[in-house]
């Protein structure tokens, strides 16, 4: 039954693409994600640090012990996508990568039984995703296009966390996949018949299943916004 539904949707997509088809575009883009990784909660943090909300709870300070704030990681984003654009609809797929390039490390305080001590903390994350999206395109005077759409993506990533102090040492790496939902808003300014500048916002919402590594466990959270800008090269069927 599920297969029939999927085939029906694919046939509808293909049929509508035939009706509206006007151009195929290749998009190269880069940008940033203001914050990535969600809470970065792990089982080890809850058990040994009494931190139940990951990076949202990890920062602690106290007079007499100098610490540095652990900020949420900022991601660098890049991608290449292929888009089929019609008069009113578009379909898009591609490959995008997000890599934590700033934040995610610092120090906090914990008492492991022998008094308060400084704990160095480091979170890192990268993931790629393959989005499949569709939506509407609004074309203004053949010089501006605005896109809005949604879909889903296959995302695969690696998250690692490490904690070190005088009395403990812990490091764990987790890899896994998820199927996050995707929402996107974008715009293009047409530079010529075959090229355009583009700008866009993408929102992913989804996490992996629980991933275990020894006694530690976590979920990789792919949720978050990313902002990208880039170049679009397109081939217009209707121009020929």
């Amino acid at each position: 039954m599920m297969k029939i539904k999927i085939y029906t949707v694919l046939i509808l997509f293909a049929a509508s693409a035939e009706v509206f088809a006007s151009s195929v575009s290749v998009i190269f883009k880069g940008g940033f994600a203001p914050e990535i990784g969600g809470s970065m909660h792990t089982g080890w943090q809850a058990e040994h640090l009494d931190v139940y909300d990951g990076i949202n709870d990890i920062n602690r300070s106290k007079s007499g012990i100098k610490v540095s704030t652990i900020e949420k990681p900022v991601g660098a984003a890049a991608g290449a996508e292929l888009r089929y654009t019609g008069d009113a609809l578009y379909f898009k797929t591609g490959a995008d990568i997000v890599y934590a390039c700033a934040g995610g490390s610092g120090s906090t305080i914990n008492d492991f039984g022998s008094g308060d001590e400084k704990v160095d903390v480091d979170y890192s994350l990268w993931f790629y995703y393959v989005p499949v999206t569709a939506g509407i395109v609004i074309d203004y005077w053949d010089e501006v296009r605005i896109f809005a759409g949604g879909g889903a993506a296959y995302a695969y990533g690696t998250f690692s966390s490490s904690f070190s102090s005088d009395s403990i040492e812990h490091e764990a790496t987790f890899s896994g996949y998820g199927i996050p939902l995707v929402a996107e808003l974008g715009c293009e300014y047409l530079l010529s018949e075959n090229a355009a500048l583009c700008c866009g916002i993408t929102y992913l919402y989804g996490r992996s299943a629980v991933i275990e590594n020894g006694t530690d466990y976590t979920r990789i959270d792919f949720s978050g916004f990313s902002f990208t800008a880039g170049l679009v090269f397109f081939y217009d069927f209707q121009a020929d």
């Binding site: 940008g31 940033f32 203001p34 914050e35 809470s39 909660h41 139940y52 909300d53 949202n56 709870d57 920062n59 602690r60 300070s61 106290k62 704030t69 900020e71 949420k72 900022v74 390039c101 700033a102 305080i109 203004y140 005077w141 010089e143 501006v144 605005i146 808003l185 974008g186 715009c187 300014y189 500048l197 583009c198 700008c199 866009g200 916002i201 916004f225 902002f227 800008a229």
Partner: protein, 208 residues
């Protein structure tokens, strides 16, 4: 990263002074932010969310299909935040006010007959004030930078003035400012979130 953004901003400003068709606009804005401090996002917390209204000055520089947006805005709570289930049993009350200086640049797209649609990336400087109340009032004095993006529409009212409506998302968190556990200073202010604002801007040199 901040240096890169400032360099890009300086480049855009320099470009603006060189381009004859550049448009300089300034005006006033008013805005709204739901769940300032992100209390609803805290795991396992029962909270009344804080809601802020803001008022500010907007500056926008249009250079053909590019724009640069800055200004200054003051955000004040109209509804304070309250966290009920602390480890120590007492309630936390948040009253977060802050000054925000946005620095954004991106594509400015003319939509003929309607106005402009603009979408850009960058970030905001936050100068946080207000307080978090635990057993005592913990005054906030934080200076932060958060990355984000801005999407907006600009619609002409008459030749020299336009109406603007903007959505901004920005992510920034402070260092610990108060104690929620009663043991350490471990309560950080999360300024991350969506801001919506509208306003009116005046175009100083539109037809020069």
């Amino acid at each position: 990263m901040k240096k890169i953004i400032l360099t890009i901003a300086a480049f855009f400003i320099a470009q603006g002074s060189l381009l004859a068709d550049g448009k300089i606009s300034a005006g006033i804005t008013a805005g709204y932010q739901y769940d300032t401090g992100n209390l609803s996002g805290k795991s396992g917390v029962d909270a009344d969310t804080e809601q802020n209204l803001s008022i500010g000055a907007a500056f926008k520089l249009d250079m053909g299909f590019l724009f640069f947006r800055s200004g200054c805005e003051y955000s004040h709570p109209v509804e304070k935040g309250r966290v009920y289930n602390r480890y120590t049993g007492d309630m936390i009350e948040t009253s977060l006010s802050f000054y925000e200086v946005p620095v954004y640049a991106g594509l400015n797209l003319p939509v003929r007959g309607y106005g402009f649609f603009y979408l850009g990336g960058g970030g905001s400087y936050i100068f946080g004030t207000g307080y978090v109340k635990t057993e005592r009032k913990n005054r906030i004095n934080e200076q932060l930078f958060g990355f984000g993006f801005l999407a907006g529409i600009e619609s002409e009212i008459y030749n020299d003035a336009s109406f603007i409506f903007e959505w901004e998302y920005m992510a920034a968190r402070s260092s610990p400012v108060a104690s929620a556990s009663g043991v350490y200073d471990d309560y950080c202010i999360d300024y991350t979130g969506n801001r919506f604002r509208f306003g009116v801007i005046y175009h100083f040199n539109r037809y020069q």
